[in-house]
C-alpha cells in the first residue's frame, strides 16, 4: 500500500510538472499580451521597454527555466493586471469556491443517495420512473442554463432570492443548487444501479428471511456494500465541481477562483492563468489519487501491486 501510494504520488508530480510545461508553452501561441494592456497610443519603443522589463524578450528556454524555478518556490510572478503576486490573488479566492463546492456536494449527496436507494428498492414504481426522468434531465441540462432559469424564476419573477453576489446564506441557494444538479444526477444513477446489484445478492435474502426490518436491510446491509463506487465517484466529482464552478461563479458573480480565472483568460493575465492551471492540476491529481486509495482501502479484496 505504501509503495502504491508513493508510486502514484510520483506519477502525479510528473503530471503536474508536464501540465505546467504545456500551459506555459501554450501562452506563446496567443497574441502579444503586452499590446493588450498598454494604451493604444503607446510608442513601439515603450512597448519594447515594457516587454524587456517583464522578460518577454528572452529566449523561450530562459523564460521557461525562470518560470519553473519560481514555481518551485511558489512564486508565479505578479498578475499583469493587479500588481500583486498571482498565487496570492488566486488563493485569496479559494475559500469562496470551497464553501460553494462544499455546500453543493452536501446538497447533492443528501438528495441523490436517498433517491437512488428508494428507486432501487421500489424498482419500476412511479417513484423510480420519476427518479430516472429527473436524473436524465439533470445530466442533459447544462449548468449555465439551469442557473439562468433559476435566476429568472426565483430572483426576477418571485423575488425570493438574490440574483448574485455573496453575503448571506440566501446567496448560497441558487449557485449551490445549480452546481449540485449535475453531480446529484450522477450519484443518483450510480446509487440506484449499485443498489440493484446488491439487492439481488444472497445475503440480502438471508437478512430479509431472518426478519430484519426493511430499512435496516436497506441501509445497513445493502447501502454499506454498495457504497464503494459511490465513495470513488465522490472524489472524482469534487474535481468536476471545480470545472462547474467556473461557469456557476460567472453567472452568479460569485467571488471565487472560477470567475477570477475566466476574467484572467479574457484579460490574458497569464501569470494568473498559470497559477490556476497549477492548482487545478494539483487538486485534480490529488483527488484522483484519493479516489484510488479510498478504493483500495475500503475494499480489501483489491490488491495493488
Amino acid at each position: 500500500m505504501v509503495q502504491f501510494v508513493t508510486r502514484r504520488l510520483l506519477e502525479a508530480a510528473v503530471v503536474v510538472f508536464l501540465a505546467l510545461t504545456v500551459v506555459f508553452s501554450l501562452q506563446f501561441l496567443a497574441g502579444d499580451p503586452v499590446k493588450l494592456f498598454l494604451p493604444t497610443d503607446t510608442t513601439p519603443k515603450q512597448i519594447e521597454e515594457f516587454r524587456d522589463r517583464l522578460g518577454f524578450n528572452d529566449p523561450w528556454l530562459v523564460q521557461y527555466m525562470r518560470f519553473m524555478r519560481g514555481a518551485l518556490r511558489g512564486d508565479f510572478g505578479d498578475s499583469l493586471r493587479q500588481n500583486e503576486p498571482a498565487l496570492e490573488l488566486v488563493l485569496r479566492r479559494f475559500p469562496a469556491t470551497l464553501s460553494l463546492s462544499g455546500v453543493a456536494m452536501v446538497l447533492a449527496l443528501a438528495t441523490a443517495i436517498p433517491v437512488g436507494v428508494i428507486s432501487a428498492a421500489r424498482r419500476n414504481s412511479w417513484f423510480d420512473h420519476l427518479g430516472i426522468g429527473a436524473t436524465v434531465l439533470g445530466q442533459a441540462i447544462p449548468g449555465f442554463w439551469l442557473g439562468l432559469m433559476l435566476i429568472y424564476v426565483f430572483a426576477v419573477w418571485l423575488r425570493w432570492l438574490p440574483t448574485s453576489g455573496r453575503g448571506t446564506w440566501l446567496h448560497f441557494v441558487l449557485p449551490s443548487v445549480t452546481l449540485a444538479a449535475f453531480v446529484a444526477a450522477r450519484f443518483a444513477r450510480l446509487t440506484r444501479s449499485m443498489m440493484l446489484d446488491v439487492l439481488g445478492q444472497d445475503y440480502i435474502r438471508t437478512a430479509r428471511a431472518k426478519g430484519l426490518a426493511p430499512p435496516r436491510v436497506l441501509y445497513k446491509h445493502a447501502l454499506k456494500n454498495a457504497s464503494l463506487p459511490i465513495v470513488t465517484l465522490l472524489a472524482l466529482q469534487l474535481g468536476q465541481l471545480l470545472g462547474g464552478a467556473v461557469i456557476t461563479e460567472t453567472i452568479f458573480a460569485w467571488p471565487g477562483v472560477g470567475r477570477f480565472l475566466v476574467q484572467a483568460l479574457l484579460n490574458r493575465d497569464f501569470p494568473v492563468v498559470l497559477v490556476g492551471a497549477f492548482l487545478t492540476a494539483v487538486l485534480y491529481s490529488g483527488l484522483n489519487l484519493a479516489a484510488d486509495v479510498a478504493y483500495a482501502w475500503l475494499n480489501p479484496r483489491i490488491r495493488y501491486e
Binding site: 447544462p142 429568472y152 479574457l266 487545478t280
Partner: protein, 290 residues
Amino acid sequence: MSEIAGALVPVLPQSRRVRRRLPLNRGGAFGLVVVALVVIAAIAAPMLSSYGPAESALTKTLRPPSREHWLGTDQLGRDLFTRILYGARVSLAIGLVTVGISGAIGLVLGLISGYLGGVTDVLLMRLVDVQLSFPFILLALTVNAILGIGLQNIILTLIITGWVVYARLVRGEVLALKALDYIEAARALGAPRTRIIARHLLPNLWTPVIILSSLQVAQFIVAEAAISFLGFGVQPPTASWGNMLNEGKTYIYNAWWMTTFPGLALVLTALGVNLVGDWLRDTLDPRLTT
C-alpha cells in the same frame, strides 16, 4: 446444438436483420426524432423562416412571442426562432466535425499506443494524463482563450481537447484484444502488422468507438455553448445557442424568452443525442453498463 439452431433461423433481408439487431425502445425513438428535427432545422433553416438570422428591425426590439415572431425578438429586433434554427447549424457542425476528427486522431493514436507499446505508448499516455488532469470545460476554455475566438477556433479547441478519451479507450481495447488467441495465431502465421490492424483489430473497435462518439457529440455541443456563453468561442452576429444565452443574460429582467428558448433547444438536443447514445450502448454492447 447452437449450430442446429443457427441453421434453423430463416435468412432475413438486410433491413429486417438490422431491425432485429437494434430493437428500438421509447428513449431511443424519442432521441432519434429529436436528432432528426435538429438536422432538418439546420439544413432547411432558410426555408422554415422568412427572416434572416442577422436581420434586425430596430423598431421591434425585445418583443415577446407573438404570431409574427413565434419566439419573440432580441435586443436588436432579430427573430429568435430564426436565430435558433441557424444556431442548430453551429451545434451540428461542432458535434459532427469535432467528433469525426478527434475520433479519428484518437483512434489512430490509441491503436499505435496500444499495439506498438514502448516509448510511443509512454509518451502518448503521459500526454493523455496531463489533459485529463484538468476538468474538460476548464481545459477547453483555456485553449480557446489562447487560440482566439471564432467558429474555426472552437472546433480546433474541441479537437485538441477531445481526442484523449478516444485514445485511452482504443488503447485499452487494443491491449485486451492483443492478448487473445486469434491475434497470436495471425501473428504466428506471419500476417503483417498492417493486416492485423486492419483486418483483426479495427473491426472490433468500431462498436466502442461508435458508442463513445454518440455521447461525445452531446458533450461537445454543450461545451461549445458553454464557451460561447462565457464570451469566448462563436461570436455574434453568428447565431450560436451559447452566445444567444449570453446576450439574453443581460436582458433577463425584461425578456425571459431570450434565455428560455435557446436553452430549451440546447437541452432537447443534448437529451436527444444522449438518449440515442444510451440506446446504441444498450443494444450494441449489452456488457457495458454505467
